[in-house]
């Protein structure tokens, strides 16, 4: 293609898309934002050893200075808490500092912790399953999320957890796309000794799940964990497929799925917020699972998710073993994020 043509094409498509965009209702909202200089000041300086500093300060009743606040900022940003939430917290601290409310590091510690916990206030509702004999049909849990976050592994762990609570569990191999996803789920079924309903790769995901529900009801199973294929929240066709799965499940039982869990990889950055927003719109999430918290990633983006969507964080995943799953404890999570060594990481 010649330069001239390429150039024309760009102009053409640009103009066309701009026009179409306008015609079909998109509007421009280019509002430049003013950003607080405080955050900037914080970022230019030291970024070492918040934890050590804090440790040395705790109990020593030393006064707080500006550079410690900067370190806090760094800690939050490097934990993926995000620019907005970080700014909100540092603003609060700066205000408190100017009002001379932060006399020592213990007060400071409590203040940050409370700020972060405040954001998670609505996120600590644990998942409670109904009593087995109260259920006419199984409690349906649908697992959704982008590729590679750990949906199938989480199902394996949840199956064990629910069995330990005395529930009968069935797995539905709704990931009919990825090669060997069905086999992967079947392995988890064997490990837990629970039945797995599957049709094989390429089958219709919604119908596999529907089959599983029918079978579970017939067998008087308490909980059905339905796996789905990983999908990027930007893939319209795959998101419509998810909406279809939901509709089909509702056909079986209008109150189902009783729980739709978004699985979020703790390694994910700010994009997790887009993921949560999109999946919530399509699949009406009722909770979030944060996986891979045993690594160096802190999963700070869940503050942004909690703030925007107010969804409960139901579980956290901390390894590949069958027992490496715990209920979400805001205090533990916040302490880990702030670097405070906590012994009760997950129970």
């Amino acid at each position: 293609m010649t330069q001239k043509n390429a150039f024309f094409l760009v102009r053409w498509i640009r103009g066309l898309l701009a026009l179409f965009g306008r015609l079909f209702g998109a509007s421009s909202k280019a509002a430049p934002q003013d950003f607080d200089s405080k955050l900037e000041a914080g970022m230019g300086k030291s970024r070492s050893g918040f934890v050590e500093r804090l440790a040395s300060l705790v109990g020593a009743s030393k006064t707080i200075d500006r550079s410690l606040l900067d370190d806090i900022e760094t800690t939050l940003l490097t934990a993926d808490v995000g620019v907005d939430a970080t700014r909100q917290i540092t603003d609060e601290l700066t205000d408190a500092l100017s009002r001379k409310e932060l006399k020592d590091s213990a007060t400071l510690w409590a203040r940050i912790r409370n700020s972060l916990l405040g954001i998670l206030e609505n996120s600590q509702t644990p998942l409670s399953l109904p009593e087995s004999d109260e259920q006419p049909s199984p409690f349906v849990i649908l697992m959704v999320g982008v590729n590679g976050v750990g949906k199938t592994t989480t199902i394996g762990k949840l199956a064990k957890r629910f069995q330990d609570q005395g529930k009968s569990v069935m797995l539905a191999a709704g990931d009919t796309f990825r090669a060997a996803a069905v086999e992967q789920l079947k392995t988890w079924g064997e490990r837990n000794n629970v039945p797995v309903v599957a049709q094989g790769t390429g089958a219709d995901s919604a119908s596999v799940i529907f089959d599983a529900l029918s079978s579970a009801k017939a067998k008087g199973i308490d909980v059905v964990l339905a796996d789905t294929a990983g999908r990027l929240h930007t893939a319209d066709n795959l998101m419509s497929e998810l909406a279809k799965i939901r509709r089909v499940v509702q056909k079986f039982d209008p109150s189902a799925p009783h729980e739709t869990l978004l699985v979020v990889d703790a390694v994910t950055g700010q994009n997790a917020l887009n993921q949560a927003t999109e999946f919530h719109e399509t699949a009406k999430l009722s909770g979030v699972v944060v996986t891979k918290l045993d690594g160096t990633a802190k999963g700070g983006v869940i503050f942004a998710i909690a703030k925007r969507l107010g969804l409960p964080i139901r579980f956290v995943g901390v390894g590949e073993g069958i027992d490496d799953l715990g209920e979400f404890k805001p205090e533990t999570f916040v302490d880990a994020l702030l670097g405070k060594v906590s012994e009760e990481s997950v129970q």
Binding site: R11, S27, D236
Partner: protein, 482 residues
Amino acid sequence: MFNNLSERLSGALKTIGGKNKLTEANISDSLREVRMALLEADVALPVVMAFIDQVKARALGTEVATSLSAGQTFIKIVNEELTKLMGEANESLNLATQPPAVILMAGLQGAGKTTSTAKLAKHLIEKEKKKVLLVSADVYRPAAIDQLETLAGQVGAEFFPSQIKQKPVKIAQAAIKHARKTAADVVIVDTAGRLAIDAEMMAEIKAVHKAANPVETLFVVDSMTGQDAANTAKAFHDALPLTGVILTKADGDARGGAALSIRFITGKPIKFIGTGEKAEALEPFHPDRLASRILGMGDVLSLIEEVEQKVDQQKAEKLARKISKGKGFTLVDMKEQLEQVAGMGDLAGMLGKLPGMGQMAGQINNANMNKDMRRQIAIINSMTPKERRNPLIISGSRKRRIANGSGLQIADVNRLLKQHKQMEKMMKKMGKGGMAKMMRGMGGGGMPPGGMGGGMPPGGGLPPGMGGGMPPMGGGGNFPFK
């Protein structure tokens, strides 16, 4: 959702204004915006700070060229530094060795190693005519070996079976031995996902590396990765002599700041990006383009490639000639364009690649837009050839007939006619001297790649393309094409 950098900077750049020199005082706001944009794009904080220092050092005291505004000069520096950091051009695999050339895949859980292994195999088989053997040393994740076996079958690669009872080192050795026997050109060793802080697992992959002696050790990383990219990349880089990076899931809407962090920390090139679920969705990585994406300035070069693939070029050229000759834009032309745009599929994705239009992309619903376009095509189809050539003759009774014919309402027909008028106006503007002006600017180059010219008009009246009619492609169009 994102306030991209060009939008952010439009305010801050006003403080630079008409100054003829960049100083600490007049760039501080802009630097802060760059910093925020990078952080929001998930670039790791230490990398952001180092980068900002570099930009600052270079910008301070820079004279503003007469052809550019001070703001543009600043943006040019940012983009150039970003491109310098990311590397200039794509670096491909280096498989020049005594065959079999071994490629080792490494990364965290769920990064996409197995999928990338299959995609890479397909690439090597089809584009480089190699005989490829795949082997899985993932003895931990349930069915990981099955997964690779299935994928190997799909992409036409040979598969070397392994068992979960075997040691990864032994698996790799046996596969390479087998490859030698069967004269395979390339062996790709897939490994289990592992955390960088898992000492035992890191020791294991070091041992696999030692035993397999790969020519390429590729670090596979999810483009949605956040700040942790810095830690992880460093740990893998310290443990293994990485030769390159594969950035996966790049077809989502993540800004991909992790790429910058990893490149900065490891110094290794990103060789490929994964761009979809299908086995052929692996593309060579062009670092200069990512710079623009991170900055939210669009990815015009990739867009051109995409358009080239999807658009009937003969028709486009015909239209180009017609318009440059000042001929009218008829409903027939409009239908052709609608069909082409509808055929492109992901419009929001394409819009996102255009400078200054990232925000609008977020508001577009591909499905609805496609439906609308199909309707419009149906309306035009219900017209007579004469009506298509001359829409002015479409009277009330004709409108009713067209509406009935297309199964839509008269209001829909009216809307289409109005849209046609708008497009006609736009095309006229473009025909009049637009082309000539564009051509003049072509030789110069000068502006950094990535559509900078379009993204940043003087005075910061952003974003372009939103104002109305056909937006100019930058002041005179200093747009370098390769």
